[in-house]
Each structure stands twice: as C-alpha cells, then as structure tokens.
C-alpha cells in the first residue's frame, strides 16, 4: 500500500472539510442530548427543514442559502422554544420523558417529513450558489468551495456556541442545568426556562446545518433519517455535552472516512468510523473530551 503525499494531504483536507459539516449537524444534538438529556431524535428532520427553507429562499430570491439560514435562525429558535414547551408540558413535567418523549420526537420526525412531502413533493432539491462550482488549488491540494464555505461557517458557529456557553451567564446556566438542576433551582433560576432556551439554540443550529447540507448534496424529505446514527455517534465520540468534543469527534470521523475511502475503499468507511467509536468508548467511555 502506497501513501503518496498529494493523496494523503487531500485526504486530510477533505476529512477536515467533511468533519466541519458533521460538527454542524451534531452540535445541536450535543446540546439537547448531551447537556439537556432530551433525546431529540427528530434533530435531522429540522436539518432537512432548514435545507428546504434555504432552498425556497434561494430559488425565489436568489439569495445565498447559508446567509439566509443564519438570518432566519431566530425562526428556528422560536420553533425550538415551542417544541420544547410541548415536550415539557406533555412529558417532562409528568416524568414521562424517557420512552414517551422518544416516541414524541419520532412522531415529530415523521410529521416533518410528511409536511415537506406535501409542500415540496418528493423530488430532489439542490441550490445554486456563486461558489458551488469553484475549486481553489494550493499545490496538489484541492479546496472545493462547496465544502469550504460550510466548513468555515460551521466552525465559526460551533466556536460561537462554545464561547456563548462558557462566557455568558445564560451559557453557564445551561452548563449548570446539565450538571445539577436542583442546585440551579435553589439559586433562584428556573431550569425549565434555561432548558427551553438551550433546546431552541440546538434547533437553530439544525436550521443552519440544513443550509450546509443542501449546498453539499441534493436533498429530499426523508434524507434526515440517514443522519440519525451519525449525529449521535459524533456526540458520543466527542463526549456527551462537550462542544469542543463534538468538533473533535466530527473531525476524527471525517478524516477517518476520507482516509479510508482514499486508501482502503469507501465501503470500509462506516466500519472504521464506528470501530473508532467503539474503541473510544472502550478506552474512554466518557468520549474524547467528556468528563
């Protein structure tokens, strides 16, 4: 087996770019599942919803889908607030969040899919951007803008979420909710409100990740299901509730996938990725950067 420098460099860069995208689709799960203990299995459906919102604005107004998704992220934030309120009143408040809550999010997943089918039909949708067909070349290494732009915005978003959580009062309250809700209540903070806002933040990131997805590949309403395993794998590999861990886990899986595809054949990529996940869990059960 030979490892030419150009191929190795390209595999690493492609893996990092892919990892950036994986981080964007997983950071919301890291917040909802890792910090709030809300098993939002419908998260990928909101990513697809984000894709369609970006698509419709791009098609009708010609605006850049990623810029649109950032501008419209408050709408997803509000959607997240509403969803968490329903979840809280119907399940969490009654102590039925474990199994029935899971069923609730399954239902949301299917309802979102069906709604998208009814509104947009079942055909594949994709967007046109000014950079979709541009590739920068630096020596032997390719930088396809279709992946570079989502990567840059994704890393900015993930770092922003991390700074927000560690450098603001509200962010620290979210981290406190993840550790001890009772202590937070004793300090006069309403943990339900904090959880609601944090859950809304996770849905807002899903909306932005949706725009990345439709820039990278064609989207149809049921595509989200294919990302359920991936988002939870990245979250667990990185360490539950660790945003830096999510970013690192996403890069590890991205590079593993890219390297395996380049040198050993793409059909081995899932086995290597999930093998890494198993190994990490065996030697460090809390994940790469989990406590």
């Amino acid at each position: 087996m030979e490892f030419p420098t150009a191929l190795v460099l390209n595999a690493i860069i492609a893996g990092l770019l892919l990892g950036g995208f994986y981080a964007a689709v997983s950071v919301g799960i890291s917040i909802s599942f890792g910090m709030l203990d809300v098993v939002n299995i419908a998260h990928p459906a909101f990513i697809i919803l984000g894709s369609y919102v970006a698509y419709i604005v791009n098609e009708r107004m010609g605006l850049d889908p990623i810029a649109v998704s950032v501008v419209l992220s408050p709408l997803f934030f509000v959607l997240g607030l509403l969803l968490y309120r329903i979840y809280y009143l119907c399940f969490e408040k009654r102590g039925q969040e474990s199994l029935r809550g899971l069923a609730f999010f399954f239902g949301i997943l299917f309802i979102t899919e069906v709604a998208l089918v009814l509104i947009f039909g079942v055909d594949y949708r994709m967007v046109q951007t000014a950079y979709s067909e541009t590739t920068w070349r630096l020596g032997p290494v390719d930088f396809p803008m279709r992946l570079v732009v989502p990567f840059l915005v994704s890393v900015t978003m993930v770092v922003g979420v991390q700074l927000f959580l560690t450098h603001t009062f509200f962010g620290r309250a979210v981290l406190a909710v993840a550790q001890d809700q009772l202590a937070l209540r004793l300090m006069g903070v309403n943990p339900t409100r904090v959880k609601g806002l944090a859950f809304a933040l996770s849905i807002a990131t899903a909306g932005v990740a949706g725009a990345f997805l439709i820039v990278i590949q064609p989207v149809q309403p049921a595509l989200g299901r294919e990302y359920i395993g991936l988002v939870f794998a990245v979250c667990v590999l990185g360490g539950m509730g660790s945003i830096w861990g999510t970013l690192l886990g996403a890069f590890v899986l991205g590079i593993a996938e890219s390297f395996t595809s380049t040198f050993f054949g793409p059909s081995w990529a899932p086995a290597v990725s999930f093998g890494l996940l198993l190994a990490a869990l065996a030697f460090k059960p809390s994940g790469l950067l989990g406590r």
């Binding site: 892919l18 995208f21 079942v122 996938e257 040198f263």
Partner: protein, 416 residues
C-alpha cells in the same frame, strides 16, 4: 301451500342471481402494486404512479377492460425493500387484487418475487435490472429495454462506444453504491471488461449515505484509468459529478450507469457539469422521431407532473410505466380472461404496440432486443429546463439504429 312457497323461493333465488351477475360484472378490475412514494427514490416512484394513473383514466374512459373499470390499489413501500413482502401479501389476501405489477426499481422488485411466485401470478416489472436471473420465473416480464441479458445489455453501449475509441482503452475503474442495482450493474460491467480485455484497476463500492465523493475520485484518479464506470443513485450521481469536476478527473469516458441525470431535477441542478458525461437514457428529444406516439402521453403527463412536484420532463420512467400497463391491457383483452397462465403465455408469444414502441419479450421475460440508449451530454449552458426539452444537447452513441453522432473524448476536454 308448500309447493307455492318452494316456487316462490326458487323465483327469488333466480331473481337475486340474475341481479347479482351484473353487479359482479361491475366489480372493478383491481391491479395492485407497491410504489416508492417516500424515501430516496420517491421522485421516480411518484412519476411512475402518475403515468399509471393516466393509463387507468384512459382505459376507463373507453369503458375499462373486459367490461370492468380499472382500479389501481397501491401502497407506499418507502423505497424500503423490507416493506415489500407485507404489501404484496396484503394486496393478495386483503385487497384481493386481480393482477400485480411491481414498484420502481431492482431493490423493491426482488423482494416481491417470492410472493408472486408462490401465488403463480403473472408479474410485470418496472425497471428492475436482471432480477429474474436468480428466480428464473416463467411469468416475470420486464418493461426496461435492457435486453435478454440485462446485466450485459445495460452496459453494452458504454463498452461498445469505449472500444471504438482510437487508440483502444486499456484500463477501467468501476465504482458503485452498496445496493442491489449498482451491484448488478457492476457485475455486468465486470463481465464486459473481461469480454473486451480491459484491465480493471479500481473496483470498489461505497455506502449509500456517502456525503463527499472527492476521496473516491482521487483514489480512482491515482490509478489513471482510461475509463470510469459509475453505477450510482441520484444523490450519489450528483456527488460524483460534482467531485469529478472538483478533483479535475482526467479520463477518456466517465459515467455509464448513473441513475439521476435522466431526470429534470439533476439535469437542471447539474447543468453544464453534465457536459462530456456518457450515460444511459431511455429517450432523448434528439430521437423523438423513433417514438412517434410518445407526444400524446407526455402532453398529459407533463402538466400533471408540475402540479405534483415530480420530474416535469418525464422522459425516462413514466412512458415505460404507461407502456407496462399497455402490455397488461392488451394481454387481458386478447386472452379475454384473468387466467395468469394464459396471460403469461400470451406475453411470451406476441408483440405489443406501446407508446415506447413495439415490445417483444424474450424467454426470461426481458426485452427480446436491447434498446437502452447510450448518450453523451454536450453544449449545456446554464441550468434552465428548456434546453433539455429540445434536441441538440444529447448525442445518442448506441445502439447503432438510434445513433445521432460520434463520441467526444476525452471527458476532461469536453466538460465545458
């Protein structure tokens, strides 16, 4: 008194039987199938369903078949093979359908076969590649024009075109998705490579949820193949085409078995990126003269497809979905009954006139003569749909009787 009661009862019985007979005659003729209405291949499934509904309306407007109105009974298989057996069992046991046809694609036709065979039903398949090679079922028929040796016929045009290049290509890379259709297409491509003496320098599959195809294409490029044969589904085809552009793939021919570029969605989304690609199609406006009756169907289909949000061109699958039902219709009318054995015998024996031309089946239920078009896209500028509706952007390379021009090679010099 007793005798009077007996006569009265007998009279009532005769009257009820007489009344019941026409009622039975008015029972609709039920045709059952599963169809991908959600999931990755739903765009194609829904387009096929529209074509089948148009057929049912056309037939019913003329009084139905055997004096019975046609009713389509269908369920969404979610593009998921595991749902197919229960759908076909329900169609037969609960809905009591009179006839069965398949949903769209190899992945959902194969799991229906054991049930269909158990019940000895005649079975029309809609675009399944080489499904009957494992089952050898004598009542299976396939409307896809891949020919009596489908795996070979599917790729025949690509390889014949390649081997006519000067100098002759020496090496080939094969790549496809980990799924039923790509596996069978790659099987055929391997056989073709062996037949033509091409050295296979890359032969790998990828998982269906692959996001970035550039590592795969770089690995292929590292082997420096003369030809690259791809068997992929729509999202992968888009990923492959984009990645080929991004890594600057250099090869003489690229494409072959990509599902997706046949549909308006990918045609318009990929636009100029399709230039230079050699792939298969079942129809192109450039050979419309060879399909004299297709306009009638497309006029009906295209208006409805736009409303339903599916393939507004309808060149690839819908005409064949309609033709599949025409074969069934003509067989039932000729046989005059729904006897499955007689229907199968008739389909084996006679030629059918359909919107996609004359259809005759080989012993294994495939088309007796292959007619997949191998085409090359060129001169595509921008992403508008209009350019695809007119001749001029698709050169038909094979079969010879449909050929409209010569290949432009290598691929990398004809991308723009």
């Amino acid at each position: 008194m007793n005798r009077l009661t007996t006569w009265f009862s007998a009279g009532l019985l005769a009257l009820s039987l007489a009344l019941a007979a026409p009622v039975h005659a008015q029972q609709p003729l039920k045709i059952g199938f599963g169809m991908s209405l959600t999931g990755p291949l739903a765009g194609n499934g829904k387009a096929a369903l529209i074509a089948m509904q148009i057929w049912a309306e056309d037939v019913n407007a003329k009084g139905g078949i055997l004096g019975r109105k046609v009713e389509l009974v269908y369920y969404d298989d979610q593009t998921n093979p595991s749902t197919v057996p229960s759908i076909y069992n329900k169609l037969l046991d609960v809905d009591k359908v009179d006839l069965l046809v398949s949903g769209y694609g190899t992945n959902v036709i194969a799991p229906a076969m054991p049930i269909v065979m158990q019940r000895n039903m005649a079975f029309m398949g809609l675009f399944g590649l080489n499904v009957n090679s494992k089952f050898n079922y004598d009542r299976y028929f396939q409307i896809m024009p891949a020919g009596p040796e489908p795996a070979i016929g599917w790729t025949q045009g690509f390889f014949d075109t390649a081997m006519a290049l000067a100098p002759k290509p020496q090496t080939i890379a094969l790549v496809g998705a980990d799924a039923e259709y790509p596996a069978l297409a790659l099987e055929g491509a391997r056989a073709q490579a062996k037949r033509t003496g091409l050295k296979v320098v890359y032969d790998k599959t990828y998982p269906p949820n692959t996001v970035d195809f550039s590592p795969i294409l770089r690995a292929i490029q590292a082997t420096n193949p003369d030809l690259v044969f791809v068997a992929s589904y729509p999202p992968d085809s888009a990923g492959m085409v984009r990645a080929a552009n991004e890594v600057g793939l250099k090869t003489r021919m690229f494409g072959g078995g990509m599902v997706g570029p046949q549909f308006a969605a990918l045609k318009t989304q990929l636009g100029p990126l399709l230039n230079g690609i050699v792939n298969y199609e079942t129809f192109a406006p450039d050979v419309a003269g060879k399909f004299p009756f297709l306009d009638q169907f497309l006029a009906k289909y295209q208006g409805r497809a736009v409303k339903e949000g599916v393939d507004p061109l309808g060149f690839y699958l819908p005409p064949y979905a309609y033709a599949m039902m025409q074969v069934l219709e003509q067989s039932i009318k000729a046989v005059g009954a729904l006897d499955q054995a007689k229907l199968a015998d008739y389909m084996h024996t006679y030629e059918f006139d359909t919107f996609v031309g004359k259809v005759r089946f080989a012993k294994n239920g495939e088309w007796a003569v292959p007619r997949m078009l191998t085409v090359q896209y060129h001169g595509i500028a921008g992403n508008d749909l209009e350019q695809w509706m007119k001749p001029g952007h698709v050169t038909v390379l094979a079969p010879a009787s449909y050929k409209t021009g010569a290949i432009m090679a290598p691929y990398h010099d004809n991308k723009k």
